[in-house]
Assembly symmetry: none
Homo-oligomer: 207 residues x 4
DNA sequence: GATGAATGAGTATTCATTCAT
DNA sequence: AATGAATGAATACTCATTCAT
């Protein structure tokens, strides 16, 4: 079983550790069987604990999914901000952010499944990755990097591209990462030439 | 209640008409409550018939959803092909196709909900709109309209943009239609200038 | 198993008959194990039908209990009114009514259990036997048979006596019937002498 | 929160005090929500302690209820015996006893709820107030105060009247106290005149 | 073909009680 | 003694599907 959240809670009290195990288990089972096919019993059985224990930590299945999506988003986003510190160019920042997030998702395979699944299962507000993306782009707009200031609709379209990429990532083709960034920038209205250049510059930050 | 499929079967035998009522009802209820929250009882009650009647027309719930998605796709796609007949330019064909489909979806509001919902709920094979899109693009590639021949991944990304647009259409803003086409073409690698031109030309076909 | 409500619905549609079986079964099981110890499964198993069938007829356990108490009360009260027709004297009417109801309860042993049990389990409004009693007494008041006009409190006290008697009836001692009537009249303020006389007169109506 | 049992244990060791808090809390919560709707968690949460603490003081929920009913009965009965010392006349003793108990219940509102509720919830043996009542009456019989020696059935009927009065007491009408005594004596076969006289004499003992 | 009724196999949830610290 | 956490055993209720008419 995955031990990601479990290890995050190493040293904390038992409650936190059990919660971690539950999150890890849900992650694995969701990735294996799909979110909506998963019963609570599957998760607790996989976690090796009693059915009822679940309810000490989450109100119901929905709360678990939300918590999981939030936790993953947090883990994905956390390392991004510091890495972006020195980068001036907005499009390059998007390239790098996308790269970091996707590589993180690659290492924890099931993350992309859950995030991708939750994206269309949960109300949008829960998806912090999407929000973060919007934030990144918004900053780019202020800097004038994108010709037309993207409104909500445009941001939705970019996010759709990103999530679609994240889903495909499951299959393990690394090239997808750069191509997703490319498409995001294209939707944002950059000319193909400038897009290439941004991708190029991005590479400098993660050789 | 919607009367679309019902009227399609006007004059046919009773069996066909009942089936039509069921499809219409499912459409309405799905649009209202979401596909996975809908129980068969909701549909038959809405249709004003006994729940067992359902099984005279569909093997099970899955078959209904499939049939519905297929039927909608058929209705959406049918008018497209003939309208595209005289159009030589592949990007323009995409623009026009997108426009026709989205306007059709606009007129039958619930269609977009069901299509959008089904897209992430059902196995991809059921979604014929997506397939059709891919077909259209593939033709464009043969004609050399798109610089890089789009592979499956790229087609997925375009489809993601399309479906995301279709979902937003719910909210009733017509501008979304053209902007979705714009983004699709952008993802396909066209320069912003050429995209504008294709949109322009497309307008000629639906004043 | 009891066949009371079942036979009441003889000739009616299947729905009514099944409902009858459920009522009969509930009656038996309640009487056997007590209302609050009884699970729905006990009832349906006893009735020889599927658990889920219950929900085709009653929303939940509460609705069943209410329905049962109502049905019993109805059966108990029904024969009373006609028998009281010719009786002028209010106290005698109470004696006779009490006698009829209690004998009915004696014949269907479990009735008294359920009524007695429900009395303190359900909100008072459901107990129609109690209401009927109050009605009877109220009429007596109009006729001036009881010195002090009984208010709600006094009626509650009389009802308490009646229900307490009904509960004891379970044990099968017939004498209890007359003694309960006696105590009811006593609480209503009749002198012991007059009470005896009313009991005497009552006997004329059921030799 | 009530502080009755808590204060009873003032000065005693911590164990006793905690037990007192639990009794007080149970009393309040029972009175608020009814005994059978109350979960142990409700009580311990109200008491501000961990639920497991409960089991340091009571074997299980039943033991708590029993203990509570016993404790209340004890508190109610204790003051009665000494006050009855000088009273010779049995009916007057009943009047006075009823008065003392009901006034005590009035001051600790929730008592009547719990006692009344427990009466029909618990096996009869737990209800010591009822037993005490019977004892009182039995003594009266020995003295020849009641024409016909009341057997168990008759005592049940008297108790029913008493408990019914106790329940109504909740609503705060003090007159109920004397009227309940009146009805108890009536059921015991005293003539209305003698009942009045006994009530009168009783008043002398609690002006 | 249509229907009302019945049903089996789930499945989430509750709660008293025990366990480890 | 007190506690936070874990748990087993129950139990009500849902829903797609089948059956008999």
């Amino acid at each position: 079983m995955s031990r990601y959240f479990q290890e995050r809670s190493r040293g904390l009290n038992k409650r936190a550790r059990t919660r971690g195990i539950l999150l890890d288990s849900a992650l694995d089972v969701f990735a294996e069987s799909g979110i909506s096919n998963t019963r609570l019993d599957d998760i607790t059985k996989y976690a090796g604990m009693a059915n009822a224990t679940f309810y000490n930590h989450f109100k119901d299945k929905d709360e678990l999914i939300t918590a999981l999506a939030k936790a993953i988003a947090l883990e994905l986003i956390a390392p991004v901000d510091e890495r972006l510190a020195g980068i001036k160019d907005a499009p390059v920042r998007i390239v790098v952010a996308n790269n970091i997030i996707m590589h993180a998702a690659l290492e924890q395979k099931s993350w992309s499944t859950v995030l991708g699944g939750a994206f269309y299962l949960l109300p949008p507000r829960y998806i912090d990755v999407g929000s973060y993306l919007k934030l990144l782009i918004a900053r780019g707009v202020e800097e004038g990097s994108f010709t037309d200031a993207p409104d909500n609709f445009q941001l939705d379209q970019v996010t759709a591209v990103f999530i679609s990429g994240l889903r495909t990532l499951d299959k393990g083709d690394v090239n997808i990462i750069d191509r997703t960034a490319q498409n995001m920038l294209r939707v944002l209205g950059m000319s193909p030439a400038k897009v290439s250049s941004a991708l190029e510059k991005g590479h400098a930050f993660y050789s």
